[in-house]
């Protein structure tokens, strides 16, 4: 192929057809440029295809991680709601009349406070994703925003969880239990 082009060039030069030679040279340049653009395009398509595959794999892992996190979260909230109901029950018993109160029910409610349920989500996938170049592969801008804000959302929630837990431990359960002798 290269030989063919060289021969054509030489023929045109030796025959003194300068105008035709220039036309041919421009044609050859255009051809080379088209070739380069095509190669770049193919490379882009290939890169996009690889990125889409990577994105798909990452999203599957992310999806699984958050499905499990959601399950854990709902269980934690359920335990918090039980603790809240028990707290309400205990507060509403005051002033306690030992002759009227059902001690078994009272005891059952204090048990709701014994286990501190905290939300500790698995974050392996999201952390590795947000802190790496793979993050750019995520094409959905809304999802990207949510992933970036996740750490703040979780920290805010955990702060409230700690405050509630501290209040329950130091100000409610300890003070209420002081008044009850089993």
């Amino acid at each position: 192929m290269i030989k063919f082009f060289r021969k054509t060039r030489q023929n045109l030069l030796s025959e003194g057809k300068t105008g035709k030679y220039f036309k041919y040279a421009i044609g050859e340049i255009v051809l080379v440029m088209i070739g380069i653009l095509l190669a770049l395009q193919v490379n882009n398509w290939n890169q996009n295809r690889i990125n889409k595959q990577k994105e798909k794999l990452l999203l599957v892992e992310l999806h699984n991680e958050f499905v499990k996190n959601k399950e854990q979260f709902e269980n934690v909230i359920l335990a918090h709601e039980k603790a809240l109901k028990s707290t309400d029950y205990m507060i509403n018993q005051f002033p306690i009349n030992p002759k009227e109160i059902n001690l078994d029910t009272l005891f059952a409610h204090t048990r709701g406070w014994a286990n501190r349920h905290t939300f500790n989500p698995s974050q392996g996938v999201i952390k590795s994703l947000v802190n790496s170049s793979s993050f750019d592969i995520i094409s959905d801008s809304e999802l990207r925003k949510l992933l970036v804000s996740w750490e703040d959302v979780l920290t805010d929630y955990q702060e409230e969880e700690n405050i509630a837990s501290e209040i329950l431990r130091n100000h409610i359960s300890s003070k209420l239990l002081d008044k009850i002798a089993y």
Binding site: H63, V67, K70, E142
Partner: protein, 39 residues
């Protein structure tokens, strides 16, 4: 005194409920978008 504590407790519960709502929404949206994109 007890009333004040009860109000504090209400505020704490309200704050936690707000955070619960926000985190629940965030988790659900991440699940939804990651599912939609990988199908």
């Amino acid at each position: 005194m007890f009333k004040l504590r009860r109000n504090n407790l209400k505020d704490i519960i309200e704050n936690e409920e707000n955070e619960i709502s926000l985190i629940r929404k965030t988790i659900s949206k991440i699940i939804e978008l990651s599912k939609a994109k990988n199908q």
